[in-house]
């Protein structure tokens, strides 16, 4: 009991100390209150009673996006919008209904605005309608006194002059979703848009700019009396792309003859992308104001996936365009020489399995160059069993397949390069020799994107430099590209053998793309056709005489072509994939020819990318 008493005494003493401490803190709070309300009350009263300071954020102008010659690809147009500031009226519905009599707003929209106005603080403006016509603006101006709580604001709206042609590269901007919210207060501005896809997304921060602040003195009724201080907004930085807008437009036009296709033109030495088209595309202008459900569903239901940039995210078996890799792998390992010959009888037997060459009657004796020229399958079947899949994959890896490049479009995909280890991890099974044979002609597990095929071809024809693709040249004044690339480490003589083969594919009358050659002197192209099988036609179907063209669209072959020009001094590389388009030589090669011819005529490489000025325009006032 004695101990308890002592303990209790300690507690009592200390509890009183705690109580005194609390009392002291309360006194501090009281003192602060007295300081603010009594000592400084007058000062704050003047600030508050007669006038109050209204701080507005000034929205910055979004940076423009231009092509390599300064042609605008994304700009900002003036945009008038009607805003509702809920705290300025007691009868929001009344104001909105009166407004609906003047300009076209449907009743559903009114309910939506009412709901939205309740969600956030009443001083935050809610967007009622944007992109008002001059007619609407003047009607509003005249009647503004009868519309309490409603105001007109001038802002900017994103516009993409090339529409569908550049949709996949530029992307689009959209309203800020909860997911996009960060600490940046700029995101709370009404009508503020941020990049949602492609360059608009990858470079959103650079394009966004910095908001300004305007401090206004406002009287009790909320009318602005005078501006106290303004810190101007700083526009976003202008971004200069490597694209040649005209080449882009022409390529897109040419591809639109097919149901679903993509094509890239790239600089073999620097890696700059001159054009990159994925057809069908979409018009990004549809998105800037919020796309209609109808349009959205149409885009989603299209079997050719217009929203996807297939040039960077479409993954296809490379088919015969992969044969250069198999050939190089053999040459580098001394498993084949320039004159190593194989007899093609139309069938290659391995164990009990039979692998057929596309030409059933066989090609007779072929060597590396003629096998490439005629796209003989047997030659590569024969080589592949000696090389092994891991060596083939390692060579493909050196030429940029099966990897991402940290490209300016985050939509890029890595494709797939199978190895023994990969198959064990993925399927828990051993690699079969037959699978190597299939892989040697770019079938089976192997997948590559059109961008990767362009990179592969560039590295084959540029003297063996490990070039990587890029789209953005300048951000504001800052140069952000790399033009010099390290050597991969492949023997020059072997690369020359491959180049000779690719030259003959197009320019030898036995070549698979001879009919697509470019005749103009000094503009000839080289390349390689590819036809990627999607579905095998089985024996029964073959017996019935079913051909690939008779199948349903989605089961037909992909048509591929990788090309470069001019043959004498390669500069432009082009890769083309026509989804389910049929044969590479019949469909893809003519496309590549037209695009490469156009690229050489326009010759976008003649000039370096222009260093563009930082846009210094001041944005509209939002508040």
């Amino acid at each position: 009991m004695n101990k308890d008493d002592e303990k209790s005494k300690v507690f009592t003493r200390r509890a009183i100390i705690v109580g005194a401490f609390q009392g002291g803190l309360l006194a501090v709070l009281g003192g602060r209150l007295a300081w603010l309300q009594l000592a400084q009350g007058k000062k704050y009263k003047t600030l508050a009673d007669r006038n109050r300071i209204n701080i507005k954020m000034l929205s910055p102008t979004r940076g423009e996006i231009v092509d390599r010659f300064g042609v605008p690809l994304a700009i900002n147009n003036q945009n008038y919008m009607a805003l509702l500031i809920p705290e300025q009226t007691d009868d929001i519905r009344g104001s909105l209904e009166k407004l609906a009599d003047l300009i076209n707003i449907d009743s559903k929209k009114i309910e939506k605005i009412l709901l939205e106005s309740k969600k956030s603080a009443s001083f935050i403006p809610v967007e009622i309608k944007d992109d008002l016509s001059w007619d609407d603006v003047s009607k509003l101006e005249v009647n503004i006194t009868d519309l309490p709580g409603i105001s007109i604001d001038e802002g900017e709206i994103r516009n993409y002059p090339f529409g569908e042609a550049t949709g996949h590269i530029i992307g689009y901007v959209g309203a800020v979703s909860d997911k996009d919210m960060t600490d940046d207060p700029i995101l709370t501005l009404p009508g503020f848009r941020i990049g949602k896809t492609a360059i608009e997304r990858s470079y959103d921060i650079e394009l966004r700019g910095k908001s300004g602040i305007s401090q206004m003195e406002v009287n009790v009724r909320g009318r602005e009396v005078r501006e106290l201080e303004t810190e101007k907004s700083v526009g976003g930085q202008r971004i200069a792309l490597t694209i040649d807008a005209e080449l882009q437009r022409l390529s897109q036009q040419r591809l639109s003859e097919y149901k679903s296709a993509s094509a890239i033109v790239m600089d073999a030495h620097t890696g700059a992308i001159y054009s990159m088209v994925s057809y069908p595309g979409f018009d990004p202008n549809l998105f800037t104001r919020g796309i209609s459900t109808e349009n959205w569903e149409e885009l989603l239901s299209n079997p050719a996936f217009p929203l996807n940039n297939k040039a960077v995210s479409g993954q296809y078996p490379p088919g015969s365009t992969f044969k250069m890799i198999t050939a190089l792998a053999a040459l580098e390992q001394n498993l084949a020489k320039a004159n190593t010959s194989v007899r093609c009888t139309g069938t290659y037997e391995y164990g009990t399995d039979k692998f057929r060459c596309w030409k059933l009657s066989g090609h007779g004796m072929v060597n590396v160059t003629s096998a490439l020229m005629k796209s003989c399958d047997t030659y590569f079947y024969k080589l592949s069993t000696d090389i092994g899949i891991d060596n083939i994959a390692a060579m493909a890896q050196k030429f940029g397949l099966g990897q991402k490049y940290n490209f300016d479009l985050k939509e890029e995909r890595a494709g797939l390069l199978p190895t023994k280890e990969w198959k064990m991890n993925e399927y828990g099974k051993n690699w079969q020799p037959g699978e190597t044979i299939v892989a040697s002609i770019g079938q089976g597990y192997i997948l590559a994107t059109p961008l990767q095929l362009a990179v592969m071809t560039s590295r084959l024809v540029n003297g063996g430099y490990a070039v990587k693709p890029w789209l953005v040249g300048y951000v504001g004044h800052q140069k952000i590209f790399q033009e010099k690339w390290p050597l991969i480490g492949i023997k020059q003589e072997n690369l020359d053998i491959i180049k000779t083969g690719m030259d003959q594919v197009v320019n030898n009358n036995e070549g698979t793309a001879y009919s697509s050659r470019i005749d103009e002197e000094g503009m000839q192209m080289g390349g390689k056709t590819g036809t990627a099988q999607v579905k095998r036609i089985n024996r029964a179907e073959r017996a019935q005489g079913i051909m690939n063209e008779d199948l349903e669209w989605k089961y037909r072959h992909h048509a591929l072509f990788v090309g470069y020009a001019p043959v004498s001094n390669p500069r432009y590389v082009c890769s083309v994939v026509v989804e389910h388009g049929g044969g590479g030589s019949a469909v893809a090669a003519p496309l590549a020819r037209d695009i490469l011819r156009e690229a050489q005529i326009r010759n976008p490489a003649r000039e370096d990318i222009k260093l563009s000025q930082i846009s210094s325009k001041i944005g509209g006032i939002y508040g």
Binding site: R14, A15, L26, L29, Q37, L38, Q40, K45
Partner: protein, 376 residues
């Protein structure tokens, strides 16, 4: 004396209500009424959307408080540790959900109510420490070996709350924990050494802080550096408060709070609205009201005949006072903006419920002040 102790174990309901501590209930209701009035005003003279809901929550909360207070303190004594463990598990669940949801997660949604385990934990830590120190002798309080488990009881949940990350709440738990050690009679030199260590480790803490937390501290030190962010709110809050003057602008006349860019006027900045409309007099009345509640709580502790109740009641009243100091200090620019509500006044269900449960426990200490608790 033995007789009294014997009698005290089976109080009937009538006895309990006679010795209930109605004064505290009255003070609580008065403070809640300040909240209703301000919320009514914040909505521009409307019960919707805040005041009506707040009244309903308060009535439910008061019901809960009475139930908590009528339950014999023996039960709370026995349940202290299990409650702590449950709170701890809930914190871990929240932490895991947060990782899955890829972001700060502080809530568990039970469908009809969202529970914020860290609120719950503030009470549970006080309960578990009160129990831990209940049977401690004077020698125990001097032995490091006895004190270290107590320190861990505080630090484990604090670490979890920090991970959420919720620096404000974790600091509040630490402060309440330190106060519990002090009240239980830990030697003074430990606090001096501990304080010294904290000051020495501040630079390290700065490096570990999230960017937004650093920003808050910087803004507090120099509000003009962030005119559109947190600093702006403080500036606006000070203008609204200051312009209230002695008598205030009158009920529903607080133009600054209602019209201006004062965010969360119904939650964190409600004191600003009150002091603008009711002036210095109103503000001081509210502070006095808080002071009376503190005093009531401490007097309950002093009259309580068992160490558990003494420690519990004081610990909980310290929790309450921390809220008050942090919130009011913040809106007057004395503290960084940490996002703490003003208990009983700010709009919000969870904090209201947690605070009323805390008061229920204090009242239980009052009703059962003579109950004999075993030394375990």
């Amino acid at each position: 004396m033995a007789d009294r102790l014997h009698l005290s174990t089976d109080h009937n309901i009538l006895y309990k209500f006679q010795n209930f501590g109605w004064g505290l209930v009255l003070l609580i209701c008065a403070m809640a009424c300040v909240g209703f009035t301000s919320l009514y005003s914040a909505a521009g003279g409307n019960f919707d959307p805040w005041a009506s809901k707040q009244i309903i929550r308060f009535l439910i909360g008061i019901g809960g408080m009475i139930v908590v207070s009528l339950i014999d303190i023996k039960w709370w004594f026995r349940l202290s540790f299990p409650i702590y463990v449950i709170g701890f598990i809930l914190l871990i669940i929240v932490e895991m959900m947060g990782h899955i949801g890829m972001g700060a997660q502080r809530w568990i949604n039970l469908g009809f109510i969202q529970i914020q385990p860290s609120e719950f934990m503030k009470i549970a830590v006080v309960m578990v420490l009160a129990k831990y120190f209940h049977a401690a002798s004077k020698e125990d309080m001097k032995s490091i070996r006895f004190l270290i488990p107590g320190v861990l009881l505080v630090l484990f949940p604090v670490a979890l709350v920090m991970l959420q990350p919720d620096l404000g709440t974790s600091l509040m738990i630490v402060m309440a924990g330190v106060a519990m050690f002090f009240l239980a009679g830990a030697p003074l030199w430990m606090f001096l050494v501990g304080g010294g260590l904290v000051i020495a480790s501040l630079p390290v803490a700065w490096l570990l802080m999230h960017n937004y937390q650093k920003q808050r501290v910087l803004t507090f030190l120099n509000p003009e550096s962030d005119p559109l962010g947190a600093g702006y709110h403080i500036t606006q809050s000070k203008i609204a408060l200051g312009s209230g003057g002695i008598q205030g602008k009158g009920f529903l006349e607080g133009t600054q709070s209602r019209l201006n860019f004062l965010p969360e006027k119904q939650t964190d900045f409600i004191f600003t609205l009150w002091a603008e409309e009711w002036g210095f007099l109103g503000g001081v009345c509210l502070l006095l009201l808080c002071g009376l509640i503190f005093a009531y709580g401490i007097s309950v502790a002093l009259q309580c005949r068992h160490a558990y109740g003494k420690l519990l009641a004081t610990g909980l009243i310290i929790n309450f006072s921390l809220y008050v100091f942090i919130n009011i200090g913040m809106v007057m620019g004395l503290m960084p903006v940490v996002g703490a509500p003003l208990p009983l006044v700010s709009y919000g269900g969870t904090s209201m419920l947690a605070v009323l449960v805390g008061f229920g426990l204090i009242l239980s200490c009052n009703v059962h002040k003579d109950t004999k608790l075993l030394r375990i």
